[in-house]
C-alpha cells in the first residue's frame, strides 16, 4: 500500500513537473513571439532611419496598391515632414493604402477606379499625411497634412499592441491570468493616458481592454515607444450581448457606402452617404430649391473615462467593411416621418452604429439622426444608446456643419443683444450662457440677414437628451485646403476636458477673420453617462424576456436645432 502511495506521489510529482514545464514552454513561446515581433520592428525602424528615407512602407502584394504607395512616397509634399529642418530622420509609417471612397474625394473628382488614398503617420511630429493618387495617370491629386492627429492603425500594429498587452507582467498580475489576444476589446482604438507619453495622444497609443467580472482592465500600450505604459481599471457593471442582431454588410456597402443616395420631397432635397470614418454624411442640402448646407457629418467620437488620468477612446464611426473602428453600421440608414398631433411635420434620417457585443461591457451603440422639418428647421442630432467601458464616462461627439454661401457671419447672444464674432473662435455652453427669449444662443447669417438661429439643446427636444454643455467652434470654410470637406481621420485626443477637442486646430494659431465668408460650425456636446438606478443616462442594460436577452436603453441625444431667421421676422 505504502509502495503504491509512494508511486502515486511520484507520478503526481511527475505530472506537476510536466505541467509546469508545459506552462513555462507556453509562456516562453509567447514571450519569444513578442520578442521576435519587437526585434523585427526595432530592426525595421533602425534600417529605415539609417537609410536616409525614413518611411516604413506597407508590404503590399497587390500591384495597384503598391503603385499607389510608390507614387505617394515619391511626392515631395507628402514626405516633406519626414526629416527635421536640421536633416535628422523622423520615423514615418504608411498606415493604409486603399481605393478612395467617394466621400474621401474632393468636390469635382469622381472615383474612376484608379484613385487611391495613402495614409502616413509621422511618429516624430505626431502628424498625419493623406495623399490621393491616380494610378491611371501616374500622378498625385492632393496632399493634406493634419497636425496632432493619427490615422486608424494598421492590422500589424494592432497585433503588436495585443502581444505587448497580453504578455505584460502587469496585465498578468492584475488579471491573475494570461489573457488571450482574442479576449481584448477595442484593441485598435486610439487612447491617451495622463502623466505618460501617451498624454493628450502625443504618442500613438491604444488600449486593448479586458473585461473581468464587472470591471474592465485597460492595458495602455505606447506604439511609439513599443511598451505598456500603464494599466487602469474601470467599473462596467454586468450586461450581456443581445441575441437580436442583423448584419447586412454587403447590402450596406453596395447601396450606401460606395455611392451617394438621394432624398427628395416637396421641401427638402439632399444626398446621403455612409463614409468610412465620419458616419453618415448629408450633403448638398436644398430647402425649397435653395442650397443651405454643403455637408453635415460626425467626425469623431471621444469617450473619456477619467478626467485626471485622461484615458478613454478616440473613435470614429462608419462603413462596416472599410473602417478599423469597432463601432460600425450594421443596418442601412432609415427614413422616419416626424409626426406631431397626428400630422407629418418633417422627416428624419437615422443611422445606428454597433459594436458586436453591445450591450455587454466595452461595447458601444451610437445613433446619428438628421431631422428636417417642413417649415425649414433642421437638426443634426447624435447620441449614445448606452453601455461602453465605464460607468462614469463622458462622450464628446465631434460634428461638422459646413454652411452654404460665401458671405456668412456669426453672432452670439450676449445678455440682451447679438454680438458678432470677428475672428475664428470657440465658446462653451455653460451655466453663464445667455439665450434669446426664444432660446437661441447663436445665429449664422448673410448680409441680408438670411440664415439660421441656433437653438442649443438644453433638454427641450424630448428625445432623451438632457442638455449639451457643448463647445461650439466657428472656422472659415477653405475651398483651397481640406479641413474636413472629405473624410477626416481622428482629429482630437479622447480625453481632453477643455476646448482642445480637435476643431481648435483649424482655429489656432492664426485666427482668421470670419465676417462675410464661408463658415463651418463644429459642435462638440459633452454627455456624461450615469448608471445610477433611476437616473440612467447614456446607459443600456440587458434583461431576459421570453428566453432571449433584450436590452433596455437610456439614450443621451445631443445636437442643436437650426431655425430659419426669416421664419421669425
Amino acid at each position: 500500500m505504502s509502495l503504491l502511495n509512494r508511486l502515486n506521489r511520484i507520478l503526481k510529482f511527475r505530472y506537476c513537473i510536466i505541467f509546469f514545464f508545459c506552462c513555462s514552454l507556453t509562456i516562453s513561446f509567447a514571450q519569444s513571439k513578442l520578442d521576435s515581433l519587437l526585434n523585427n520592428r526595432r530592426n525595421d525602424i533602425q534600417t529605415v532611419l539609417k537609410s536616409g528615407f525614413p518611411i516604413l512602407e506597407l508590404k503590399l502584394t497587390d500591384p495597384k496598391l503598391h503603385l499607389a504607395q510608390a507614387l505617394a512616397i515619391s511626392n515631395f509634399q507628402f514626405i516633406v515632414n519626414c526629416k527635421t529642418p536640421m536633416g535628422e530622420s523622423l520615423l514615418n509609417e504608411i498606415f493604409a493604402v486603399y481605393p478612395a471612397r467617394q466621400s474621401e474625394l474632393p468636390a469635382g473628382i469622381d472615383q474612376n477606379g484608379n484613385i487611391y488614398r495613402v495614409e502616413m503617420y509621422n511618429y516624430g511630429y505626431n502628424l498625419s499625411s493623406i495623399c490621393l493618387v491616380d494610378i491611371g495617370e501616374n500622378k498625385v491629386l492632393k496632399v493634406n497634412t493634419i497636425p496632432n492627429s493619427q490615422p486608424d492603425i494598421p492590422e500589424h500594429l494592432k497585433i503588436l499592441a495585443l502581444e505587448i498587452a497580453c504578455n505584460s507582467a502587469e496585465v498578468l498580475k492584475e488579471l491573475s491570468y494570461k489573457p488571450e489576444n482574442s479576449e481584448a476589446l477595442m484593441a485598435s482604438t486610439k487612447t491617451a493616458l495622463n502623466r505618460t507619453k501617451c498624454e493628450r495622444s502625443l504618442h500613438l497609443c491604444v488600449a486593448p481592454t479586458f473585461v473581468k467580472d464587472n470591471k474592465a482592465l485597460w492595458a495602455i500600450v505606447d506604439l511609439t515607444d513599443l511598451k505598456l505604459v500603464g494599466t487602469r481599471w474601470t467599473n462596467v457593471g454586468h450586461s450581456e450581448g443581445i441575441s437580436e442582431r442583423r448584419i447586412q454588410n454587403a447590402k450596406i456597402m453596395e447601396c450606401y457606402c460606395l455611392k451617394d443616395s438621394l432624398y427628395k420631397d416637396e421641401n427638402w432635397r439632399f444626398k446621403f452617404t455612409l463614409t468610412s470614418s465620419d458616419g453618415l454624411r448629408i450633403s448638398e442640402v436644398y430647402y425649397k430649391n435653395n442650397l443651405v448646407i454643403n455637408s453635415m457629418k460626425l467626425v469623431d467620437w471621444h469617450v473619456s473615462y477619467s478626467n485626471s488620468d485622461g484615458f478613454g477612446y478616440s473613435d470614429a464611426i462608419g462603413c462596416p467593411m472599410f473602417s478599423q473602428s469597432a463601432v460600425v453600421a450594421i443596418d442601412p440608414p432609415r427614413k422616419i416621418d416626424i409626426v406631431e398631433n397626428g400630422k407629418k411635420i418633417g422627416i428624419a434620417i437615422e443611422q445606428n452604429y454597433f459594436s458586436e457585443g453591445w450591450p455587454a461591457p466595452c461595447n458601444y451603440n451610437y445613433l446619428q439622426r438628421f431631422e428636417f422639418y417642413n417649415n425649414g428647421r433642421f437638426r443634426p442630432a447624435f447620441g449614445s444608446l448606452g453601455r461602453g467601458c465605464g460607468n462614469d464616462g463622458t462622450y464628446r461627439p465631434v460634428s461638422r456643419i459646413a454652411f452654404a454661401g460665401e458671405q456668412n457671419s456669426f453672432a452670439e447672444w450676449d445678455i440682451n443683444k447679438w454680438k458678432t464674432w470677428q475672428k475664428e473662435n470657440w465658446r462653451l455652453q455653460d451655466i453663464l450662457s445667455t439665450y434669446t427669449p426664444e432660446g437661441f444662443q447663436y445665429k449664422i447669417y448673410d448680409p441680408k440677414d438670411n440664415g439660421y438661429y441656433i437653438e442649443a439643446n438644453r433638454g427641450q427636444f424630448h428625445d432623451g437628451g438632457r442638455g449639451d454643455n457643448a463647445y461650439t467652434y466657428v472656422t472659415v470654410h477653405h475651398v483651397d485646403k481640406d479641413e474636413g470637406d472629405t473624410d477626416l481621420i481622428t482629429i482630437g485626443p479622447c480625453c481632453n476636458t477643455d476646448f482642445h477637442q480637435g476643431p481648435d486646430k483649424f482655429i489656432y494659431p492664426d485666427q482668421e477673420n470670419i465676417n462675410n465668408t464661408g463658415l463651418v460650425i463644429w459642435y462638440v456636446p459633452q454627455l456624461k453617462n450615469d448608471d445610477t438606478s433611476g437616473k440612467e443616462y447614456c446607459w443600456a442594460q440587458s434583461y431576459y424576456e421570453s428566453g432571449v436577452i433584450k436590452s433596455k436603453i437610456f439614450p443621451c441625444m445631443s445636437g442643436p436645432m437650426f431655425v430659419p431667421i426669416i421664419q421669425n421676422h
Binding site: 502623466r195 481599471w233 477619467s306
Partner: protein, 344 residues
C-alpha cells in the same frame, strides 16, 4: 592558511555579488546613517523640504499597490484637487463611497471627511485612501514593506526624505510619508478669487446680498473662510448636516463653496451635475428623489427646512450662482507650486 584566505576571498566576493543582486544596496541606503555624507543634510527641519517631498509623493503612482493611481488621480489640480467623477474610483475600478473632496485652505477645516466628524487631522484622514480596504483606494494595506522598498530603492527619494527629515536615522516610513503628504495638502492655498479681491459683477453682488439675506440665509451653513462652516458650530460634528438617506442616518459635512466651477459634480454622492441642480434640489428639499425624503424630524436640518418656505425665482438663482462663481480662484488651479513635479 593560503587556501583558507582564498576561500574567504571567494566567499566575500560571492557575498558581495549576492548583496548587490538582492537589492542590498537599496537597503543600505534606507537603513544607515552614512548616507548623510553623500546627501548633505540641514540641521534645521525645513518645512519647504517636507512640502516638496509631499508634492512628489502626491503625484507618484508608486504610492498605490498596482502602480495605477496616486493621490492626484482623485485630487487633480485642474479640478481644484477633485476628479470630476460622481464618486471616485479605486485602484481596482471600485466606486468609492463619496464624491472626491477638494483640497485647499485645509487649515480652516473643522474636519476632513464627508461623514466622519471625528477625523480632525489631515494625517488621520490620509490613512483612509492609503490603507482603506473596502473599497480599496490606493490598496497599501498588507503591502507596506513592498511600497516602502519602492521608495528606498530610488535614490532621489532617499535624498528627498533625508532632506525633509534630517534628524531621522531611517526616514523612509509611513509616518513620514503621511507627514509629508499632509504638509503638501496643507500648503495648498486658494484665496485669490474675485470675491477675495472685492471685484464683483453686478449680478454677483446681487447674488451675494441674496446669499446673506434672511430670505435664503445660505451663510447659515456656508460661512467662514471656506464657506463651509455652520455658524453655530463649536465642534466638528456640528458641521455635519443630515441630507436625505434617512434610512441610513448618514450625516454629511458642509462642503466648501470655493472653486465650484472646477469641482462638479456636486454633493456627497455627486448627484448634482450643475449648480442649478443643487439650487433646485434645495428648493425642492428633495436631495435624492429615488432614495426617500429628508428626515424632517431631525433638528439638524432646520436650516434646510427654512428654505422650503421660499421658492427661488430663476433670477435669484442665477444671481446666487454668479456670486458662487465669483469664489473661483483661477490662479490656484494653475499655480506651479502645486503642479506635478515629474516630467514624462
Amino acid at each position: 592558511m593560503k587556501v583558507i584566505i582564498q576561500n574567504l576571498r571567494k566567499n566575500i566576493r560571492c557575498i558581495l555579488i549576492l548583496f548587490i543582486l538582492c537589492g542590498g544596496w537599496s537597503l543600505l541606503v534606507c537603513f544607515t546613517n552614512d548616507k548623510s555624507k553623500k546627501y548633505p543634510r540641514s540641521t534645521i527641519v525645513d518645512s519647504t523640504q517636507l512640502i516638496e517631498l509631499g508634492r512628489y509623493l502626491f503625484y507618484d503612482n508608486r504610492l498605490s499597490y498596482n502602480n495605477t493611481k496616486s493621490c492626484a488621480s482623485c485630487h487633480d489640480q485642474r479640478f481644484a484637487f477633485t476628479d470630476g467623477y460622481r464618486k471616485s474610483i479605486g485602484i481596482y475600478g471600485d466606486k468609492l463611497n463619496h464624491n472626491s473632496l477638494p483640497l485647499f485652505n485645509l487649515e480652516s477645516n473643522f474636519s476632513f471627511n464627508w461623514n466622519e466628524p471625528e477625523i480632525i487631522r489631515v494625517e488621520d484622514q490620509l490613512h483612509i485612501p492609503l490603507f482603506n480596504d473596502a473599497p480599496k483606494e490606493l490598496g497599501l494595506k498588507n503591502h507596506e514593506a513592498e511600497i516602502l522598498h519602492r521608495f528606498c530603492s530610488d535614490s532621489s527619494y532617499v535624498y528627498l526624505f533625508l532632506r525633509a527629515f534630517p534628524e531621522k536615522a531611517f526616514p523612509i516610513n509611513f509616518n513620514n510619508i503621511i507627514k509629508s503628504l499632509a504638509a503638501f495638502c496643507l500648503s495648498i492655498k486658494s484665496y485669490n478669487s474675485d470675491n477675495d479681491k472685492g471685484i464683483l459683477t453686478i449680478n454677483a453682488q446681487k447674488g451675494k446680498t441674496l446669499f446673506y439675506s434672511e430670505k435664503y440665509n445660505c451663510n447659515n451653513c456656508h460661512s467662514g473662510p471656506n464657506f463651509n462652516q455652520f455658524i453655530g458650530a463649536k465642534r466638528p460634528e456640528d458641521n455635519f448636516q443630515k441630507f436625505g438617506f434617512s434610512e441610513t442616518g448618514n450625516k454629511f459635512r458642509i462642503p466648501s463653496l470655493r472653486n465650484l466651477s472646477f469641482t462638479s459634480p456636486y454633493l456627497h454622492d455627486g448627484s448634482a451635475e450643475s449648480l442649478l441642480d443643487v439650487l433646485n434640489d434645495y428648493e425642492n428639499a428633495n436631495r435624492y428623489r429615488n432614495f426617500g425624503q429628508r428626515d424632517v424630524q431631525d433638528s439638524s436640518i432646520l436650516t434646510i427646512q427654512t428654505k422650503l418656505d421660499n421658492q427661488m425665482s430663476m433670477e435669484d438663482k442665477m444671481n446666487i450662482i454668479a456670486f458662487l462663481l465669483s469664489l473661483n480662484d483661477t490662479t490656484f488651479v494653475n499655480n506651479p507650486q502645486y503642479k506635478n513635479p515629474f516630467n514624462y
